[in-house]
Symmetry: C2
DNA sequence: GCTTGACCTTCCCATGATTGGAAACTTATA
DNA sequence: TATAAGTTTCCAATCATGGGAAGGTCAAGC
């Protein structure tokens, strides 16, 4: 198993598409790999490892900026874990805020849809609500 | 209170920014408003109403494409409510899938962060996990 | 009348992460 | 040698929104 591979193989091993590998290089997130005589990029295990790191961080929703910071901390053997944890906690807060917003939208829509016949008749509380009629969402038990 | 107003007033009344009002017109989501002799746009209550509709639909996370369909249904007095409900149910599914994905990310991160000291010491399960070390996320109680 | 400031217009560009594709080149297969 | 499959760079599109420039228009105050 070769340890220095083309961009296609690096993509397969890291889970990052070849397109995005080039992109991450262009924005300076990863170092440029070595080039063969034919100008092809070749990736060593260290770079592939970093790409895998990026891939997993993206799966956790980290922004590219955050990943840049995390990579810098990861490369620093003496980094304080507090810095990493602070980024993670901030990201948790962002994720939960987004999830809450989506849940709120979903709950409102479910409420409206529950009152919509969903048949051939034209009257529809969903449209009425979007049109500004408050009678559905107003709770006046 | 004038019933035909400038774009600024239409923005204030509908909750859609003037920028976005022009944008929605440019993509055909709303009809072009009348123009005064000086080429200024002027909005009548019907258009302002539609902009309010769009604003509320955006708050519920509908895409512009979906809003176009909803607007068409809204303008059609004889539309079957089933079509509206189908769009809403699809949107609910999208929202909940996104919320679930965010919650899963958050849960994983919370789990990792809980095991991170968050002090001056360099060892950090968060970075270890991102680096590909599975020992944290593997649950082997 | 002239200046100032607050509008309006169109146009281009940026965001964030990713994908698609074109044009040109190299390599491997048949 | 033809072809298919890789690679390179560059440009563009996505989605919804915002920023800003450059110029036209309008009202108020002096």
């Amino acid at each position: 198993m070769k340890s220095v591979v083309t961009i296609r193989e690096a993509a397969a091993r890291s889970g990052v598409s070849a397109k995005m590998i080039r992109h991450y290089e262009s924005i300076g997130l990863i170092a440029p790999p070595i080039r063969a005589e034919n100008n092809y990029r070749f990736y060593d295990p260290r770079l592939i490892h970093e790409l895998g790191f990026i891939h997993r961080a993206r799966e956790l929703g980290f922004s590219i900026a955050d990943i840049g910071a995390l990579l810098a901390l990861w490369r620093d053997r003496n980094r304080p874990s507090a810095e990493v944890k602070a980024i993670a906690l901030s990201q948790i807060a962002v994720l939960e805020a987004k999830a809450d917003a989506l849940r709120a939208m979903s709950a409102t829509l479910r409420h409206l849809a529950a009152h919509c016949h969903g048949d051939d008749r034209p009257d529809c509380p969903i449209l009425e609500n979007l049109a500004g009629d408050q009678s559905i969402t107003q709770s006046r038990k």
